[in-house]
């Protein structure tokens, strides 16, 4: 047994994360320095800057951090439970299911309805159920499962378009707005909800990580190791779907983070059971905060919706994974 150097990396990523969050806070239309931010956050200076940073910038930055972490752990859970390296909330159409739920909620229950969250989850979960059943009927390999995800995405996309066709101008703009993930929608309420469920999800994963990783040994071996395989997979998928649907309900679709981060974690730090999920979570947060920085810096003073940025960067990575195969 040797002490893993990954513990050191956990510390390192944590501090990189803090640094990037502060950096992200210092970027915006009003020029502020790194030290201004520290002053505002830790010393009670009472001025306009404080309002800008605490009310506008901080929610967005924290939303990036939390959403990145949530998408990363959801992606890892889905990849392990589907035994499929190409699986992720986005590539399987889970995010699109959530989006369809959001469109339904907006159209039938109004813009500010709390049904948005419930229907987002139901929409997302319907994708998982369909994929799970398809997989039961005929064992799908990695590529065909993703193809099934594409088919479901386009079906749900078409239904969303139909709903947009039926909707008023106001509803239409709300639905369209949701299709590109945008963190400027963040409120302290959404942050609280995301934080609570991220912590609960992380605790679940840390408690069950050895069982979860046993799934990597294949169904038969996992069974012989005393794991109730189907039950464990289903719980993992429900948790991942729920977490993803929350982010979609709050901010819209932010693609490819859930796909790319688990692979990146493995490439950088290896798939070590003790530390994988923690590193994966921190890396997810780092990547999305970084994306948030770019989304503000690229077309300043315009803020690019972050979902557009992650898709531009994520799609080539997906193609690379697809071409590389297993």
């Amino acid at each position: 047994m040797k002490i893993s150097k990954n513990y050191f990396f956990i510390f390192l990523l944590f501090f990189i994360n803090i640094f990037l969050i502060l950096l992200d806070l210092s970027i915006g239309e009003l020029k502020t320095s790194f030290f201004d931010i520290i002053e505002v956050l830790f010393f009670n200076t009472n001025n306009n800057l404080r309002n800008i940073i605490l009310d506008i910038r901080l929610p967005e930055t924290l939303a990036a951090s939390l959403t990145g972490a949530i998408l990363a752990i959801s992606g890892a859970l889905i990849q392990i439970s589907m035994e499929n390296p190409l699986a992720s909330p986005y590539t399987l159409g889970i995010s699109h299911g959530a989006l369809l739920g959001v469109a339904f909620a907006i159209l039938f229950f109004g813009l500010s309805s709390k049904f948005v969250y419930i229907l987002a989850f139901l929409g997302a979960f319907s994708t998982v159920i369909i994929l799970f059943l398809l997989n039961k009927i005929k064992k799908l390999n990695a590529s065909s499962l993703v193809l099934a995800g594409v088919a479901i995405s386009s079906l749900y996309g078409a239904i969303s378009l139909f709903l947009q066709f039926l909707s008023s101008d106001l509803e239409l703009s709300a639905i369209v707005y949701w299709t590109f993930g945008d963190l400027t929608k963040a409120t302290y309420f959404s942050l609280k909800v995301l934080f609570i469920f991220l912590v609960l999800g992380y605790i679940y994963i840390e408690l069950k990580k050895y069982k979860i990783f046993s799934l990597e040994l294949g169904e038969e071996v996992a069974l012989s190791l005393g794991i109730e395989v189907n039950r464990l997979k289903l719980i993992n998928l429900i948790l991942a779907t729920f977490l993803v649907s929350l982010t979609v309900a709050f901010f819209g679709i932010i693609g490819f983070v859930g796909l790319v981060v688990p692979h990146l974690t493995r490439l950088l730090f290896g798939k070590e059971i003790k530390t994988f999920f923690t590193l994966n979570l921190l890396l997810g947060s780092i990547l999305l905060v970084l994306a948030d920085i770019f989304s503000k810096a690229l077309l300043a003073p315009q803020i690019l919706p972050i979902g557009i940025l992650t898709s531009i960067l994520g799609a080539p990575t997906f193609l690379y994974l697809l071409m590389r195969g297993r």
């Binding site: 047994m1 990597e216 038969e220 069974l223 005393g226």
Partner: protein
């Protein structure tokens, strides 16, 4: 130790009965499609909807809770695929399975180190299993199964993909282990089996045609089992100790 009573599964297994009561190396031999793997999977509690009874240490295996099963039986499948997990972690999972996946203790980790040393896996202990050769992967799977410290070890063609030297080493290992636990293995290497196994179960068309101790195996038995009337084997003349 292990009693199987009128076990049947679909059309694959028919009225299987046997009783194994000693620590030993038991070889299951039979032509392709004779139901060997299915039998092993029933014993490993992977297939559960069979009829008949499998009794382990006086308990019907259906009455043993799933999570306690790894303490009784360890299983190594026919085909193992590598994955991104490290060799060390893979073996650790076997260990933890036998204690309901509670947190690994120092003792557990020392035990893993011991197994790694015993099977001389030190050089690959921190490699990802997908980067291993077929032989190495097989050894890691066996190490994972041994880490369970189960009372019975089930192996499905463990010598697949192994070259002659690794086969030899594996059989030496199994022989040594069989003094401590009951090992039941599907085997295709008849020469090796006859040299190493203590007991034989001959399976054909889902039925046991014979189950006998090593000393009573006749050339005729093997020839009949594989429908090889014309082909005369020289198994009795081969001494693998000289390889």
């Amino acid at each position: 130790m292990l009693v199987v009573k009128s076990l049947a599964y679909k059309d694959i297994l028919k009225d299987i009965n046997f009783k194994l009561s000693k620590k030993s190396l038991v070889a299951i031999l039979g032509p392709n499609g004779s139901g060997k793997s299915t039998l092993i999977k029933c014993l490993a509690n992977i297939i559960k909807d069979y009829s008949g009874d499998i009794i382990l240490f006086g308990k019907n295996i259906k009455s043993i809770p799933q999570r306690d099963f790894p303490k009784y039986v360890a299983y190594v499948p026919q085909k193992s695929f590598g994955n991104a997990l490290k060799v060390y972690d893979t073996i650790l999972l076997g260990r933890l399975a036998s204690k309901n996946f509670s947190k690994p203790t120092k003792k557990d980790l020392e035990f893993i180190d011991k197994i790694i040393e015993e099977l001389s896996l030190q050089n690959i202990a921190y490699k990802e299993t997908m980067n291993l050769s077929g032989g190495e992967l097989q050894k890691v799977q066996i190490a994972r199964a041994l880490a369970q410290e189960a009372k019975i070890l089930l192996l499905d063609e463990p010598t697949n993909n192994l070259d002659i030297k690794n086969k030899f080493l594996l059989f030496e290992l199994l022989k040594k282990l069989s003094q401590k636990i009951l090992i039941i293995s599907i085997l295709h290497d008849i020469d090796f089996s006859l040299n190493y196994a203590d007991y034989f179960i001959f399976l054909k068309n889902g039925k046991i045609v014979k189950s006998i101790s090593k000393d009573f195996v006749k050339e005729e038995d093997i020839l009949n089992l594989f429908d090889l009337e014309l082909w005369r084997m020289s198994f009795s003349k081969v001494s693998l100790k000289t390889v």
